[in-house]
Protein backbone atom coordinates (compact mmCIF):
# COMPACT_ATOMS: atom_id res chain seq x y z
CA UNK A 1 0.00 0.00 0.00
CA UNK A 2 1.20 3.48 -0.75
CA UNK A 3 2.28 5.89 1.90
CA UNK A 4 -0.71 8.12 1.34
CA UNK A 5 -3.01 5.18 1.97
CA UNK A 6 -1.30 4.56 5.28
CA UNK A 7 -1.73 8.20 6.12
CA UNK A 8 -5.39 7.99 5.19
CA UNK A 9 -5.88 4.94 7.39
CA UNK A 10 -4.19 6.70 10.26
CA UNK A 11 -6.22 9.87 9.77
CA UNK A 12 -9.47 7.96 9.57
CA UNK A 13 -8.77 5.83 12.64
CA UNK A 14 -10.22 8.33 15.07
CA UNK A 15 -13.43 8.98 13.08
CA UNK A 16 -13.98 5.23 12.84
CA UNK A 17 -13.34 4.67 16.53
CA UNK A 18 -15.60 7.61 17.28
CA UNK A 19 -18.27 5.95 15.16
CA UNK A 20 -17.81 2.76 17.14
CA UNK A 21 -18.04 4.54 20.48
CA UNK A 22 -20.98 6.75 19.68
CA UNK A 23 -22.79 4.43 17.29
CA UNK A 24 -21.90 0.77 17.11
CA UNK A 25 -21.37 0.08 20.79
CA UNK A 26 -24.30 1.95 22.37
CA UNK A 27 -26.58 0.66 19.63
CA UNK A 28 -25.49 -2.91 20.25
CA UNK A 29 -25.70 -2.58 24.03
CA UNK A 30 -29.15 -1.01 24.07
CA UNK A 31 -30.56 -3.46 21.55
CA UNK A 32 -29.05 -6.40 23.36
CA UNK A 33 -30.45 -5.34 26.72
CA UNK A 34 -33.95 -4.84 25.37
CA UNK A 35 -33.68 -7.91 23.18
CA UNK A 36 -32.76 -10.08 26.15
CA UNK A 37 -35.83 -9.05 28.10
CA UNK A 38 -37.96 -9.77 25.06
CA UNK A 39 -36.16 -13.08 24.58
CA UNK A 40 -36.80 -14.18 28.14
CA UNK A 41 -40.50 -13.50 27.71
CA UNK A 42 -40.59 -15.35 24.40
CA UNK A 43 -38.65 -18.29 25.82
CA UNK A 44 -41.11 -18.60 28.68
CA UNK A 45 -44.01 -18.36 26.23
CA UNK A 46 -42.44 -21.11 24.15
CA UNK A 47 -42.15 -23.30 27.23
CA UNK A 48 -45.67 -22.54 28.40
CA UNK A 49 -48.21 -25.34 28.43
CA UNK A 50 -50.76 -23.01 26.90
CA UNK A 51 -50.62 -23.89 23.24
CA UNK A 52 -51.63 -20.48 21.92
CA UNK A 53 -48.96 -18.65 23.89
CA UNK A 54 -46.36 -21.06 22.68
CA UNK A 55 -47.58 -20.74 19.09
CA UNK A 56 -47.43 -16.96 19.10
CA UNK A 57 -43.84 -17.05 20.30
CA UNK A 58 -43.00 -19.70 17.75
CA UNK A 59 -44.35 -17.69 14.84
CA UNK A 60 -42.55 -14.58 16.03
CA UNK A 61 -39.27 -16.45 16.33
CA UNK A 62 -39.75 -18.11 12.99
CA UNK A 63 -40.37 -14.82 11.20
CA UNK A 64 -37.47 -13.03 12.85
CA UNK A 65 -35.09 -15.87 12.12
CA UNK A 66 -36.45 -16.59 8.68
CA UNK A 67 -36.13 -13.15 7.12
CA UNK A 68 -33.06 -11.04 6.44
CA UNK A 69 -32.31 -8.38 9.04
CA UNK A 70 -31.86 -5.89 6.23
CA UNK A 71 -35.49 -6.31 5.29
CA UNK A 72 -36.61 -6.00 8.90
CA UNK A 73 -34.77 -2.70 9.16
CA UNK A 74 -36.33 -1.40 5.98
CA UNK A 75 -39.82 -2.44 7.03
CA UNK A 76 -39.54 -0.55 10.30
CA UNK A 77 -37.85 2.52 8.94
CA UNK A 78 -39.38 2.90 5.52
CA UNK A 79 -42.49 0.78 5.81
CA UNK A 80 -44.12 1.83 9.05
CA UNK A 81 -44.46 5.47 7.93
CA UNK A 82 -46.93 4.32 5.30
CA UNK A 83 -49.06 3.22 8.25
CA UNK A 84 -48.57 6.64 9.83
CA UNK A 85 -45.90 5.49 12.28
CA UNK A 86 -42.73 7.52 11.83
CA UNK A 87 -39.82 6.55 14.07
CA UNK A 88 -36.48 8.31 14.13
CA UNK A 89 -33.35 6.51 12.92
CA UNK A 90 -31.93 5.63 16.32
CA UNK A 91 -35.17 4.32 17.83
CA UNK A 92 -35.88 2.50 14.57
CA UNK A 93 -32.52 0.78 14.67
CA UNK A 94 -32.92 -0.14 18.32
CA UNK A 95 -36.41 -1.50 17.72
CA UNK A 96 -35.26 -3.57 14.73
CA UNK A 97 -32.18 -4.97 16.41
CA UNK A 98 -34.03 -5.66 19.66
CA UNK A 99 -36.72 -7.56 17.80
CA UNK A 100 -34.01 -9.50 16.03
CA UNK A 101 -32.03 -10.30 19.17
CA UNK A 102 -35.29 -11.28 20.84
CA UNK A 103 -35.91 -13.94 18.23
CA UNK A 104 -32.44 -15.41 18.35
CA UNK A 105 -31.83 -15.19 22.08
CA UNK A 106 -35.24 -16.67 22.85
CA UNK A 107 -34.15 -20.02 21.45
CA UNK A 108 -30.88 -19.85 23.34
CA UNK A 109 -32.61 -19.14 26.63
CA UNK A 110 -35.23 -21.79 26.01
CA UNK A 111 -32.53 -24.38 25.35
CA UNK A 112 -30.63 -23.25 28.43
CA UNK A 113 -33.73 -23.61 30.61
CA UNK A 114 -34.38 -27.06 29.18
CA UNK A 115 -30.78 -28.03 29.85
CA UNK A 116 -31.17 -27.60 33.59
CA UNK A 117 -31.76 -31.12 34.95
CA UNK A 118 -35.38 -31.91 35.80
CA UNK A 119 -34.22 -32.83 39.29
CA UNK A 120 -33.63 -29.14 39.97
CA UNK A 121 -37.30 -28.36 39.34
CA UNK A 122 -38.27 -31.24 41.57
CA UNK A 123 -35.99 -30.21 44.41
CA UNK A 124 -37.40 -26.69 44.17
CA UNK A 125 -40.98 -27.96 44.26
CA UNK A 126 -40.01 -30.29 47.09
CA UNK A 127 -38.94 -27.43 49.34
CA UNK A 128 -42.32 -25.84 48.58
CA UNK A 129 -41.52 -23.38 45.83
CA UNK A 130 -44.09 -22.24 43.31
CA UNK A 131 -43.34 -22.59 39.61
CA UNK A 132 -42.45 -18.93 39.32
CA UNK A 133 -40.14 -18.95 42.30
CA UNK A 134 -38.46 -22.18 41.19
CA UNK A 135 -37.87 -20.55 37.83
CA UNK A 136 -36.37 -17.34 39.12
CA UNK A 137 -34.36 -18.64 42.08
CA UNK A 138 -33.28 -22.08 40.95
CA UNK A 139 -33.59 -22.60 37.20
CA UNK A 140 -32.70 -19.25 35.63
CA UNK A 141 -29.45 -18.76 37.58
CA UNK A 142 -28.28 -22.13 36.30
CA UNK A 143 -29.57 -21.50 32.80
CA UNK A 144 -27.67 -18.22 32.80
CA UNK A 145 -24.35 -19.99 32.99
CA UNK A 146 -25.22 -22.32 30.15
CA UNK A 147 -26.40 -19.51 27.94
CA UNK A 148 -23.37 -17.26 28.25
CA UNK A 149 -21.44 -18.72 25.29
CA UNK A 150 -24.35 -18.78 22.82
CA UNK A 151 -25.59 -15.39 23.98
CA UNK A 152 -22.22 -13.84 23.53
CA UNK A 153 -22.24 -15.22 20.02
CA UNK A 154 -25.57 -13.50 19.51
CA UNK A 155 -24.05 -10.30 20.84
CA UNK A 156 -21.04 -10.52 18.56
CA UNK A 157 -23.32 -11.07 15.58
CA UNK A 158 -25.30 -8.07 16.69
CA UNK A 159 -22.21 -5.87 16.83
CA UNK A 160 -21.42 -6.75 13.25
CA UNK A 161 -25.03 -6.41 12.16
CA UNK A 162 -25.19 -2.86 13.46
CA UNK A 163 -23.28 -1.97 10.32
CA UNK A 164 -26.63 -2.29 8.57
CA UNK A 165 -27.87 0.65 10.61
CA UNK A 166 -25.91 2.81 8.20
CA UNK A 167 -28.71 2.08 5.73
CA UNK A 168 -31.22 3.83 7.92
CA UNK A 169 -29.21 6.95 8.60
CA UNK A 170 -27.53 5.94 11.85
CA UNK A 171 -23.92 7.06 11.98
CA UNK A 172 -21.75 4.27 13.27
CA UNK A 173 -18.43 2.65 12.48
CA UNK A 174 -19.27 1.39 9.04
CA UNK A 175 -21.03 4.57 8.00
CA UNK A 176 -17.95 6.56 8.98
CA UNK A 177 -15.85 4.22 6.88
CA UNK A 178 -18.18 4.72 3.93
CA UNK A 179 -17.95 8.48 4.31
CA UNK A 180 -14.19 8.49 4.37
CA UNK A 181 -14.19 6.04 1.49
CA UNK A 182 -16.45 8.24 -0.58
CA UNK A 183 -14.27 11.24 0.08
CA UNK A 184 -10.96 9.53 -0.57
CA UNK A 185 -12.19 7.04 -3.17
CA UNK A 186 -10.21 4.39 -1.26
CA UNK A 187 -13.02 2.16 -0.20
CA UNK A 188 -11.02 -1.09 -0.07
CA UNK A 189 -8.57 0.21 2.47
CA UNK A 190 -11.31 1.78 4.54
CA UNK A 191 -13.45 -1.36 4.59
CA UNK A 192 -10.46 -3.38 5.71
CA UNK A 193 -9.82 -0.87 8.45
CA UNK A 194 -13.45 -1.11 9.51
CA UNK A 195 -13.18 -4.91 9.49
CA UNK A 196 -10.14 -4.68 11.70
CA UNK A 197 -11.97 -2.51 14.19
CA UNK A 198 -14.96 -4.87 14.24
CA UNK A 199 -12.53 -7.68 14.86
CA UNK A 200 -10.92 -5.86 17.75
CA UNK A 201 -14.31 -5.17 19.27
CA UNK A 202 -15.26 -8.83 18.93
CA UNK A 203 -11.97 -9.96 20.47
CA UNK A 204 -12.54 -7.69 23.43
CA UNK A 205 -16.07 -9.00 23.81
CA UNK A 206 -14.88 -12.60 23.60
CA UNK A 207 -12.36 -12.09 26.32
CA UNK A 208 -15.11 -10.46 28.36
CA UNK A 209 -17.09 -13.63 27.82
CA UNK A 210 -14.21 -15.67 29.19
CA UNK A 211 -14.09 -13.58 32.34
CA UNK A 212 -17.84 -13.84 32.79
CA UNK A 213 -17.78 -17.60 32.33
CA UNK A 214 -15.03 -17.95 34.88
CA UNK A 215 -17.03 -15.91 37.36
CA UNK A 216 -20.12 -18.01 36.83
CA UNK A 217 -18.12 -21.23 36.92
CA UNK A 218 -17.35 -20.57 40.55
CA UNK A 219 -20.83 -21.76 41.33
CA UNK A 220 -21.53 -24.60 39.00
CA UNK A 221 -18.33 -26.39 38.10
CA UNK A 222 -18.31 -30.14 38.37
Amino acid sequence: MSESTWQLLLDSLWPLIHGAITGTIPLALASFAIGLVLALGLALMRLSKRRWLSSIAQVYISIVRGTPLLVQLFVIFYGLPSLGIVIDPWPSAIVAFSINVGGYAAEVIRAAILSVPKGQWEAAYMIGMSHRRALTRIILPQAARVSVPPLSNTFISLVKDTSLASLILVTELFREAQQVAAFSQQFMALYLEAALLYWVICLVLSSGQGVLEKRLDRYVAH
Binding site: G119, A123, I127, R133, P141, Q142, Y219, V220
Partner: protein, 268 residues
Protein backbone atom coordinates in the same frame (compact mmCIF):
# COMPACT_ATOMS: atom_id res chain seq x y z
CA UNK B 1 -55.21 -52.93 61.91
CA UNK B 2 -55.32 -49.71 63.85
CA UNK B 3 -57.97 -47.17 62.89
CA UNK B 4 -57.04 -44.75 60.14
CA UNK B 5 -57.14 -41.68 62.30
CA UNK B 6 -54.18 -42.89 64.27
CA UNK B 7 -52.04 -43.22 61.16
CA UNK B 8 -49.84 -40.37 60.05
CA UNK B 9 -50.15 -41.32 56.40
CA UNK B 10 -52.96 -43.20 54.72
CA UNK B 11 -52.95 -43.98 51.02
CA UNK B 12 -55.97 -45.66 49.47
CA UNK B 13 -56.35 -47.03 45.95
CA UNK B 14 -53.69 -44.73 44.45
CA UNK B 15 -53.62 -44.89 40.63
CA UNK B 16 -51.28 -43.30 38.13
CA UNK B 17 -50.80 -43.77 34.39
CA UNK B 18 -48.30 -42.25 31.99
CA UNK B 19 -50.11 -42.36 28.69
CA UNK B 20 -51.13 -45.99 28.18
CA UNK B 21 -48.72 -47.20 30.82
CA UNK B 22 -50.63 -47.74 34.06
CA UNK B 23 -47.76 -47.59 36.51
CA UNK B 24 -49.75 -47.61 39.73
CA UNK B 25 -52.86 -49.81 39.63
CA UNK B 26 -53.99 -49.49 43.21
CA UNK B 27 -51.63 -48.70 46.03
CA UNK B 28 -52.80 -48.92 49.64
CA UNK B 29 -50.52 -48.18 52.51
CA UNK B 30 -50.48 -46.66 55.95
CA UNK B 31 -47.64 -45.38 58.08
CA UNK B 32 -48.02 -44.61 61.77
CA UNK B 33 -46.04 -41.93 63.54
CA UNK B 34 -42.46 -43.02 64.11
CA UNK B 35 -42.71 -45.93 61.71
CA UNK B 36 -40.23 -46.59 58.92
CA UNK B 37 -41.73 -48.16 55.81
CA UNK B 38 -39.27 -49.65 53.30
CA UNK B 39 -40.53 -50.02 49.73
CA UNK B 40 -38.74 -52.66 47.71
CA UNK B 41 -39.46 -53.99 44.25
CA UNK B 42 -38.12 -54.44 40.74
CA UNK B 43 -36.95 -51.57 38.60
CA UNK B 44 -39.86 -49.80 36.92
CA UNK B 45 -42.40 -51.19 39.36
CA UNK B 46 -43.47 -47.71 40.42
CA UNK B 47 -41.68 -47.14 43.72
CA UNK B 48 -40.42 -43.71 42.76
CA UNK B 49 -43.83 -42.82 41.41
CA UNK B 50 -45.42 -43.59 44.77
CA UNK B 51 -42.97 -41.28 46.54
CA UNK B 52 -43.49 -38.56 43.98
CA UNK B 53 -47.24 -38.73 44.51
CA UNK B 54 -46.72 -38.45 48.27
CA UNK B 55 -44.64 -35.31 47.75
CA UNK B 56 -47.07 -33.79 45.25
CA UNK B 57 -44.48 -33.91 42.45
CA UNK B 58 -46.85 -36.14 40.54
CA UNK B 59 -50.65 -35.86 40.54
CA UNK B 60 -52.27 -39.27 40.78
CA UNK B 61 -55.27 -40.20 38.63
CA UNK B 62 -57.29 -41.78 41.40
CA UNK B 63 -57.28 -42.74 45.04
CA UNK B 64 -56.70 -40.66 48.13
CA UNK B 65 -53.75 -39.53 50.21
CA UNK B 66 -54.32 -38.42 53.78
CA UNK B 67 -51.58 -36.98 55.88
CA UNK B 68 -51.79 -35.44 59.32
CA UNK B 69 -49.57 -32.71 60.67
CA UNK B 70 -46.71 -32.91 63.10
CA UNK B 71 -48.82 -31.60 65.96
CA UNK B 72 -52.42 -32.70 65.89
CA UNK B 73 -53.68 -29.66 67.72
CA UNK B 74 -52.61 -27.26 64.96
CA UNK B 75 -52.27 -29.53 61.93
CA UNK B 76 -55.57 -31.01 60.91
CA UNK B 77 -55.38 -33.98 58.54
CA UNK B 78 -55.43 -33.03 54.91
CA UNK B 79 -56.91 -35.38 52.34
CA UNK B 80 -56.49 -35.25 48.60
CA UNK B 81 -59.02 -37.12 46.52
CA UNK B 82 -57.38 -37.59 43.14
CA UNK B 83 -60.39 -39.18 41.47
CA UNK B 84 -62.10 -35.82 41.88
CA UNK B 85 -59.13 -34.04 40.32
CA UNK B 86 -59.18 -36.25 37.22
CA UNK B 87 -55.41 -36.50 37.22
CA UNK B 88 -54.88 -32.82 36.50
CA UNK B 89 -52.88 -30.46 38.66
CA UNK B 90 -55.59 -27.84 38.26
CA UNK B 91 -58.11 -30.22 39.82
CA UNK B 92 -56.27 -30.33 43.14
CA UNK B 93 -56.79 -27.29 45.34
CA UNK B 94 -53.50 -25.43 45.38
CA UNK B 95 -53.62 -25.08 49.12
CA UNK B 96 -54.16 -28.78 49.70
CA UNK B 97 -51.27 -29.62 47.44
CA UNK B 98 -49.16 -27.04 49.27
CA UNK B 99 -49.99 -28.64 52.61
CA UNK B 100 -49.05 -32.07 51.27
CA UNK B 101 -45.69 -30.70 50.18
CA UNK B 102 -45.17 -28.87 53.44
CA UNK B 103 -45.74 -31.99 55.46
CA UNK B 104 -43.47 -34.27 53.44
CA UNK B 105 -39.88 -33.79 52.37
CA UNK B 106 -37.94 -35.85 49.88
CA UNK B 107 -34.35 -36.99 49.63
CA UNK B 108 -33.47 -37.77 46.04
CA UNK B 109 -31.38 -40.54 44.55
CA UNK B 110 -29.14 -38.01 42.79
CA UNK B 111 -29.22 -35.52 45.69
CA UNK B 112 -30.46 -32.68 43.44
CA UNK B 113 -28.71 -30.05 45.49
CA UNK B 114 -28.81 -26.55 44.02
CA UNK B 115 -25.37 -26.27 42.43
CA UNK B 116 -25.29 -22.48 42.48
CA UNK B 117 -25.90 -22.24 46.21
CA UNK B 118 -23.60 -23.06 49.09
CA UNK B 119 -24.35 -25.91 51.44
CA UNK B 120 -25.86 -23.53 53.98
CA UNK B 121 -27.91 -21.73 51.34
CA UNK B 122 -29.21 -25.05 50.10
CA UNK B 123 -30.45 -25.87 53.55
CA UNK B 124 -31.87 -22.43 54.31
CA UNK B 125 -33.60 -21.81 50.98
CA UNK B 126 -36.83 -23.59 51.88
CA UNK B 127 -37.29 -22.36 55.46
CA UNK B 128 -36.34 -18.75 54.67
CA UNK B 129 -37.65 -18.15 51.17
CA UNK B 130 -40.68 -20.42 51.14
CA UNK B 131 -41.68 -20.78 54.76
CA UNK B 132 -40.64 -17.20 55.60
CA UNK B 133 -39.14 -18.08 58.92
CA UNK B 134 -36.66 -15.62 60.45
CA UNK B 135 -33.28 -15.96 58.78
CA UNK B 136 -31.26 -15.88 61.99
CA UNK B 137 -33.30 -18.61 63.61
CA UNK B 138 -33.14 -20.78 60.51
CA UNK B 139 -29.40 -20.29 60.21
CA UNK B 140 -28.81 -21.42 63.80
CA UNK B 141 -30.92 -24.50 63.21
CA UNK B 142 -29.34 -25.26 59.83
CA UNK B 143 -25.84 -25.01 61.25
CA UNK B 144 -26.77 -27.28 64.11
CA UNK B 145 -28.09 -29.85 61.64
CA UNK B 146 -24.98 -29.58 59.48
CA UNK B 147 -22.76 -30.01 62.53
CA UNK B 148 -24.71 -33.04 63.47
CA UNK B 149 -24.06 -34.76 60.13
CA UNK B 150 -20.40 -33.76 60.33
CA UNK B 151 -20.55 -31.06 57.68
CA UNK B 152 -20.37 -27.90 59.76
CA UNK B 153 -17.10 -26.95 58.12
CA UNK B 154 -18.59 -27.29 54.68
CA UNK B 155 -21.24 -24.62 55.23
CA UNK B 156 -19.76 -22.33 52.59
CA UNK B 157 -18.74 -25.00 50.08
CA UNK B 158 -20.58 -25.49 46.83
CA UNK B 159 -22.07 -28.92 46.16
CA UNK B 160 -19.50 -29.75 43.48
CA UNK B 161 -16.81 -29.52 46.14
CA UNK B 162 -18.37 -32.35 48.14
CA UNK B 163 -18.19 -36.11 47.72
CA UNK B 164 -21.39 -37.95 46.85
CA UNK B 165 -21.87 -39.08 50.42
CA UNK B 166 -21.46 -35.53 51.70
CA UNK B 167 -23.90 -34.22 49.12
CA UNK B 168 -26.48 -36.76 50.14
CA UNK B 169 -26.08 -35.83 53.77
CA UNK B 170 -26.71 -32.21 52.82
CA UNK B 171 -29.77 -33.46 50.92
CA UNK B 172 -31.03 -35.06 54.11
CA UNK B 173 -30.34 -31.92 56.15
CA UNK B 174 -32.19 -29.85 53.54
CA UNK B 175 -35.20 -32.11 53.99
CA UNK B 176 -34.98 -32.02 57.81
CA UNK B 177 -34.75 -28.24 57.85
CA UNK B 178 -38.21 -28.08 56.31
CA UNK B 179 -39.53 -29.62 59.56
CA UNK B 180 -41.67 -32.14 57.73
CA UNK B 181 -43.99 -34.68 59.27
CA UNK B 182 -42.88 -37.36 56.85
CA UNK B 183 -39.48 -38.02 55.30
CA UNK B 184 -39.31 -39.67 51.89
CA UNK B 185 -36.11 -41.34 50.63
CA UNK B 186 -35.74 -42.52 47.03
CA UNK B 187 -32.81 -44.96 46.88
CA UNK B 188 -30.67 -42.51 48.85
CA UNK B 189 -27.46 -44.52 48.49
CA UNK B 190 -27.70 -46.13 45.07
CA UNK B 191 -25.72 -43.37 43.36
CA UNK B 192 -22.91 -43.50 45.93
CA UNK B 193 -19.50 -45.13 45.88
CA UNK B 194 -19.76 -48.30 48.01
CA UNK B 195 -17.53 -46.96 50.77
CA UNK B 196 -19.63 -43.80 51.10
CA UNK B 197 -22.88 -45.70 51.49
CA UNK B 198 -22.25 -46.33 55.18
CA UNK B 199 -22.22 -42.67 56.24
CA UNK B 200 -25.63 -42.06 54.74
CA UNK B 201 -27.22 -45.26 55.97
CA UNK B 202 -25.96 -44.63 59.48
CA UNK B 203 -27.49 -41.17 59.41
CA UNK B 204 -30.85 -42.51 58.28
CA UNK B 205 -30.69 -45.17 60.96
CA UNK B 206 -30.13 -42.47 63.57
CA UNK B 207 -33.08 -40.49 62.31
CA UNK B 208 -35.24 -43.58 62.55
CA UNK B 209 -34.09 -44.11 66.11
CA UNK B 210 -35.06 -40.51 66.91
CA UNK B 211 -38.58 -41.27 65.86
CA UNK B 212 -38.84 -39.67 62.42
CA UNK B 213 -41.56 -41.14 60.27
CA UNK B 214 -40.16 -42.26 56.94
CA UNK B 215 -40.85 -44.03 53.70
CA UNK B 216 -37.67 -45.37 52.12
CA UNK B 217 -37.27 -46.89 48.68
CA UNK B 218 -34.17 -49.04 48.86
CA UNK B 219 -32.36 -52.04 47.48
CA UNK B 220 -30.28 -52.47 50.62
CA UNK B 221 -32.10 -55.44 52.08
CA UNK B 222 -29.80 -55.64 55.08
CA UNK B 223 -30.55 -52.06 55.88
CA UNK B 224 -34.31 -52.56 55.46
CA UNK B 225 -34.22 -55.57 57.72
CA UNK B 226 -32.48 -53.67 60.46
CA UNK B 227 -34.06 -50.22 60.27
CA UNK B 228 -37.55 -50.57 58.81
CA UNK B 229 -40.59 -51.33 60.93
CA UNK B 230 -42.41 -52.57 57.86
CA UNK B 231 -41.42 -53.69 54.37
CA UNK B 232 -43.70 -53.52 51.34
CA UNK B 233 -42.93 -55.29 48.06
CA UNK B 234 -44.18 -53.29 45.07
CA UNK B 235 -44.70 -55.02 41.74
CA UNK B 236 -47.02 -54.53 38.79
CA UNK B 237 -48.45 -51.34 40.24
CA UNK B 238 -49.70 -52.86 43.50
CA UNK B 239 -48.27 -53.77 46.87
CA UNK B 240 -47.97 -57.52 46.49
CA UNK B 241 -46.98 -58.22 50.07
CA UNK B 242 -46.05 -56.33 53.20
CA UNK B 243 -45.11 -57.15 56.71
CA UNK B 244 -42.44 -57.27 59.35
CA UNK B 245 -39.01 -56.94 57.71
CA UNK B 246 -37.27 -59.77 59.48
CA UNK B 247 -40.17 -62.07 58.90
CA UNK B 248 -40.89 -61.15 55.32
CA UNK B 249 -37.34 -61.06 54.05
CA UNK B 250 -36.70 -64.46 55.46
CA UNK B 251 -39.93 -66.06 54.51
CA UNK B 252 -41.82 -64.25 51.73
CA UNK B 253 -45.37 -65.48 51.09
CA UNK B 254 -45.71 -64.70 47.40
CA UNK B 255 -43.83 -66.34 44.59
CA UNK B 256 -42.97 -62.99 42.99
CA UNK B 257 -41.52 -61.68 46.23
CA UNK B 258 -39.52 -64.83 46.63
CA UNK B 259 -38.06 -64.54 43.13
CA UNK B 260 -37.17 -60.91 43.58
CA UNK B 261 -35.46 -61.47 46.91
CA UNK B 262 -33.59 -64.46 45.59
CA UNK B 263 -32.20 -62.47 42.68
CA UNK B 264 -30.99 -59.76 45.01
CA UNK B 265 -29.56 -62.02 47.70
CA UNK B 266 -27.91 -64.64 45.49
CA UNK B 267 -26.94 -62.85 42.31
CA UNK B 268 -24.61 -65.54 40.99
Amino acid sequence: MSPTDQKLLTVRGLQKSFGDNQVLKSIDLTVARGEVLALIGPSGSGKTTVLRCLNGLEIADGGTIEIIGADDATHAPVTIDFAAAHGSRAGVPKKTLGTLRDRSAMVFQHYNLFPHKTVLENVMEGPVVVQRRPRAEVETEALALLERVGLGEKRDSYPFELSGGQQQRVGIVRALALRPTLLLFDEPTSALDPELVGDVLRLIKELAAEGWTMVIVTHELEFAREVATEVAFVDGGTIVEHGDPKEMLRNPQHERTRQFLHRLLFPF
